[in-house]
């Protein structure tokens, strides 16, 4: 058997082994798809409500105009939505800097009745990076400003 044949045999065997391994890895990751999520979105929570009092995480967008401070001054309520369903949330404590209306949030806590009671809030940043001066502009406006200053 010549050296070329051995080389090609090694290549074919390795490619088959790799394809099998990657397939196995992807299948495993796909099987994890539900379990490995870091949080539930509101529509999951509404469709399959977890047991009352069980610790879960809820992630979604803070609805605009929904943040309200209770008379005690530390408790806030707001509504988290994902475009399909909404869940009211109650939280007492210090909120992270990026916790604002219209941005993402992950709340750790449990369902009490229809309300989600959070022990901890994490702000979720989106993938957009925009300078402060352009925050209120649409993309077309921002592009016009950039073109003007050049």
């Amino acid at each position: 058997m010549s050296a070329i044949k051995a080389k090609h045999q090694r290549l074919v065997l390795l490619v088959i082994a790799l394809a099998a391994l990657i397939g196995a890895g992807l299948l495993a990751a796909w099987a994890l798809s539900k379990q490995a999520s870091y949080f539930y979105v509101p529509s999951d929570l509404v469709a399959h409500p977890p047991e009352q009092g069980r610790a879960v995480r809820l992630g979604g967008m803070v609805q605009r105009g929904s943040i309200k401070t209770m008379p005690d001054g530390v408790t806030i309520t707001f509504v988290v939505g994902d475009g399909k369903a909404t869940v009211p949330v109650r939280y007492a404590g210090i909120t992270p800097d990026l916790f604002v209306e219209g941005s993402g949030v992950v709340a750790e806590g449990r369902m009490e009745g229809a309300t989600f009671v959070a022990d901890n809030l994490l702000a979720k940043h989106d993938e957009k990076y925009v300078p402060r001066e352009m925050k209120d502009m649409t993309q077309a406006q921002a592009k016009a400003v950039v073109a003007e200053t050049k």
Binding site: Q9, S33, Y38, P96, V130
Partner: protein, 287 residues
């Protein structure tokens, strides 16, 4: 028809690293049939860079060039990112960590991709320089992976409100760091055992290829699973990062990549020099 040769590591084999001193002295391997530099001129061309002398000539000028260009680009981009770029609309000044974090994240994964591709070449073509390239990429890759995790954690505290969460992206990236540690330990052990002709070099290469499964998982983790980490901002031909932040980021990434390439070449030269020195000592001991 001879019995098919299977891909079993040869115990009393011909560890590729051992061939180097042979190639060194003669320009070609004295023992044919191992996919090194064959005496057939056709193969000599195909495996031109299997000749370490030729590789070293290239590395001698390419390494300082890459390091120099990389340092200039990286420091320029970092100065731009730290001093010139305006704060982000939500994160404020924290956005500046992006210019270190993102290139480190890319290079941590690029490092393992280098290991995986080099390992494939080592296993299939028994290319001796491929084994050295894979080992040389491990430490810089691990350093960039660690830097990515550290800077990410520093960014996460003010942005998310926590240093660390066990979401899909962060966890799979931490596993990458552990894979690097495992690879470095395994390569070190294989080097010590190589003198006994154990063929352990191939075990290292197989580990390098198997570990590559983690790379697509890291990449897809923010899409498959709800994660606290944001999805990719830059995908092929598209970016949701404003141009103000994007240009210093891309130039910085290019600079860091050049530094990575330069360090890998430097480490390859060191590893080759080690092998050469050891071979000389062995010859002297025999004489």
């Amino acid at each position: 028809m001879a019995a098919p040769r299977l891909l079993l590591p040869k115990v009393q084999g011909f560890p590729p690293l051992f061939c180097l001193p042979l190639i060194w002295r003669n320009g070609t391997a004295e023992r044919p049939g191992h996919g090194l530099v064959e005496k057939d001129p056709k193969f000599a061309d195909m495996h031109g860079f299997a000749n370490p002398a030729r590789f070293l000539r290239l590395a001698r000028w390419l390494m300082p060039l890459l390091l120099g260009v990389g340092l200039v680009l990286a420091f320029g981009a970092l100065a731009w990112g730290l001093l010139v770029v305006p704060p982000d609309r939500l994160m404020g000044q924290t956005v500046r960590i992006l210019f270190i974090h993102v290139p480190c994240a890319w290079l941590g994964m690029a490092g393992w991709s280098t290991i995986a591709v080099s390992s494939l070449v080592e296993l299939v073509w028994r290319h001796p320089l491929a084994a050295i390239a894979a080992r040389a990429a491990a430490v810089p890759g691990a350093v960039f992976t660690a830097l990515c995790l550290i800077t990410g954690s520093i960014w996460a505290r003010p942005t998310w409100g926590t240093w660390w969460v066990w979401d899909g992206r962060l966890t799979s990236y931490l596993i990458l760091l552990f894979l690097y540690f495992g690879y470095i330990a395994l390569a070190g052990a294989a080097q010590r055992d190589a003198a006994a002709g154990s063929g352990a070099s191939r075990v290292t290469a197989i580990f390098g290829m198997v570990g590559a499964i983690n790379i697509p998982i890291i990449n897809r983790s923010v899409i498959w699973w709800n994660s606290l980490h944001q999805p990719a901002s830059i995908t092929l031909g598209k970016s949701s990062i404003d141009g103000t932040f994007l240009w210093p980021l891309l130039i910085g990434a290019l600079g860091f990549s050049c530094i990575f390439g330069g360090v890998v070449l430097a480490r390859m030269r060191t590893l080759l020099a080690d092998i050469q020195a050891e071979a000389r000592l062995r010859r002297k001991a025999m004489a």
